[in-house]
Symmetry: C2
Subunit: 445 residues, 2 copies
């Protein structure tokens, strides 16, 4: 077999990168659990009729068939393309044994048969949090969700040196109420045009609002003016009020968005702004919407987005409104890895290598290793009895910081970085806390 080539769109990481990815996933999990989200995992496949309801992206679904099935026979199963559709199905299937409001997180691979390009993958990992309730979901969860996500992303920044983020938040009730207050019939149509602001600019949006949505000149002007408002504090409320439009939904939206900005300012200052042009394409959002960029890497697109939807699922009798947010783990990490901006300090968990002088002393070396492992120190026994210098080279090539020489009674530990070698007792020797696990080395300016 010749050397196999990577498959486009299916990123695989080196051990150095996978170690960092695990640290990232650990911190996401920890943050979600600190906020009372419970873990679930769903199967990778869903029936096609469950997946295909989302008309927009059914082209991207991978369908399964069995290799030796009748020709053309498929299984009616496809790989899930996000974690929202399977979660909605899970809620309906298990509603009778779940407690509502149900708070869950879910960290899994998803698959899309898209044409691969930078930032678009055919297989990628998402980390989702959602809160779902029966019939109605309290509005304060719209405030809570972005804060949980920001708390998670802030830990990646502070603990692991990833770039900081900026989350831009809007509320569809604010925008819809404003449009209704202006006398516009179809707020959704306006939103779809406003969603293009970043791509085509305010002048073009203004023209489309008149030509395609049928707004008057002054209505279009006001819609664009609203979309141009943003602030890191509550001052956006005054800017909106200054436009002179009144509507109950507008008021409700303003109050919710002001609460988000105020609360975020208290707990994750500088990471969130109200930005009234954020629309998020999908129709099903009905309240808060958010998207998030890495500061300094905005062109990579949103690495975390979501919002409120009034009907995640429905079984005919009960509807399940929710608010959710997804972090694109692969989308966040793969470009950092491929540009060499983030890596682990060593490609192995091992802290110390136990040298083996001759095969006859291997049992002795294993005894030393077991004593260290008992105290949580990742230890490897040299694979080959060999000379002093070769054992050191073996450890050095792997970035293992320490080598143990001698027996369990009269041992010595060498620190390969300082060259220092000291007498050590396997029941007592302990590495500094920073050496216990590989460190994450960011190279981000």
């Amino acid at each position: 077999m010749n050397r196999p080539k990577p498959l486009s769109g299916f990123p695989e990481f080196t051990p150095e990168a996978r170690i960092v990815e695990q640290f990232v996933l650990d911190r996401l999990r920890e943050t979600f659990e600190l906020h009372g989200f419970t873990p679930i995992e769903t199967r990778a496949v869903e029936p096609l009729d469950t997946l295909a309801k989302q008309g927009e992206i059914d082209k991207e679904i991978y369908v399964l068939s069995r290799l030796h099935a009748e020709p053309g026979a498929t299984t009616d199963l496809g790989l899930h393309f996000d974690l929202t559709v399977p979660f909605a199905r899970y809620v309906l299937e298990n509603a009778h044994r779940l407690q509502f409001p149900f708070r869950r997180y879910q960290i899994q691979k998803v698959w899309r048969g898209e044409r691969p390009q930078e930032g678009r993958y055919r297989e990628f990992t998402q980390a989702d949090i959602d809160i779902v309730d029966t019939d109605t979901l309290a509005p304060h969860h719209d405030v809570e969700l972005p804060l949980v996500s920001l708390a998670a992303l802030e830990r990646l920044h502070v603990d692991l040196g990833l770039p900081p983020v900026l989350m831009r938040v809007n509320n569809r009730r604010l925008a819809s109420g404003f449009y209704l207050g202006l006398g516009v019939d179809d707020p959704a149509e306006v939103l779809r045009q406003v969603d293009k602001m970043d791509k085509i600019g305010p002048d073009q949006v203004h023209d489309l609002l008149i030509s395609d949505v049928g707004l008057t000149e002054s209505q279009a002007k006001m819609c664009v003016a609203l979309a141009e408002i943003n602030s890191a504090d509550e001052s956006f409320v005054d800017s909106v009020r200054a436009l002179g439009v009144e509507h109950d939904e507008l008021e409700a939206g303003l109050e919710l968005l002001a609460t988000v900005v105020r609360t975020a300012g208290a707990y994750v200052p500088g990471r969130l702004i109200a930005d009234l042009r954020i629309a998020r394409g999908l129709d099903y959002y009905t309240g808060t919407v958010y998207e998030t960029h890495l500061v300094g890497y905005e062109s990579w697109g949103s690495i975390s987005s979501g919002g409120r939807y009034d009907s995640l699922a429905s079984d005919g009798r009960t509807s399940y409104p929710g608010v959710g947010l997804s972090i694109g783990v692969t989308r966040l990490l793969a470009p950092l890895f491929s540009r060499g901006l983030l890596r682990a300090s060593r490609p192995v968990p091992t802290v110390i290598l136990i040298a083996v002088e001759a095969e006859e002393t291997r049992a002795e070396a294993i005894a030393v290793a077991e004593q260290l492992r008992d105290r949580g120190i990742a230890t490897e026994v040299a694979p080959k009895a060999d000379k002093y210098g070769r054992q050191i080279r073996y450890a050095d090539r792997r970035g293992i910081p320490y080598v143990w020489f001698g027996s369990s009674i009269a041992g010595e530990v060498k620190d390969l970085r300082s060259g220092e070698q000291v007498a050590a007792d396997p029941s007592k020797w302990t590495p500094p806390e920073t050496d216990r696990r590989p460190q994450v080395i960011p190279a981000i300016s």
Copy 2:
């Protein structure tokens, strides 16, 4: 939509079970890392020609096609059915940047289009460890691998209350050497029959060895006698020697197997026996082979097996021998969950609920929650401002052990189990260590 039904062969866990599964995966990962295994993860798909080489199970492969591709057009990609084939491909693809011997662990889902039945799934999680080297791999790794796996399984028993295990180990060199010493031409054919011992019994195997493999009566007797030897200590060596067969490979195998038994006796006493009937069906094993049962649940089949293979992969110039072992995580856990033998003490990570007396005081409740989270205490703010009794019922239904009442200055914490309520300071209150995370509750006799 009516309530969706589960898909046969695709197990999904309740939150209580998923919490336990995560604890299990955490301990496997920790044990593997303590022994210097580095994490990798491979994509879910492989090209069909990579997968189909394993002639035996190509019928079980799920092939991908895109929903809106030309009719009949498939992608030439299939879902991996184990973690060995993708690992072999990963080694070939990345050999130029890996350090050998390469020690890796890999915990992922795999898929097989099999007819589902108890203990057989279409989607399941495996946890694999392998050590692979170039050209030759030192024999002491045959001793090391089962010990790592047993260390992991022993932690599941001691920390989480899973049943203990018994690993049965053999060495193919021992068996082959014995058959060659008897003058048998095709040791592999003998092994294939001996593999049936547990199913059809020694008499039938004896007859098949004569009728199908062409052994003499006395050869067949000796082969069955060898397969009936087992011991928890090194006494099996004398039992084999008493049969009076001599061969270099037999000696090498005896020495390796004796070392495994001796070392396991020192570090995981009572969990491993030499059992000379263990053959493992697959042809590619060439040294140690092992399989593992849960004590008291032997009928569930092997939950961890593996062995040595002299050629995991080859690129024509270099061959990569390895020794590996796989723990069937789903196979181990799903029956324990479905029989109610294992569950988490609560279905949420939450330790304490912050009561909200009126919506106006929600900000105050969030402030208390943030102080507790800062110290690693999983905290949820009540979703609804409500009376004392309802807040308690909310927490109680979820198994949350504590409720916080009052403000951040004058707070009180109620332990719902004892009913005790005490004054508390959010910057100081700490739950007992056993309440910090859900506990695993085994119901195993």
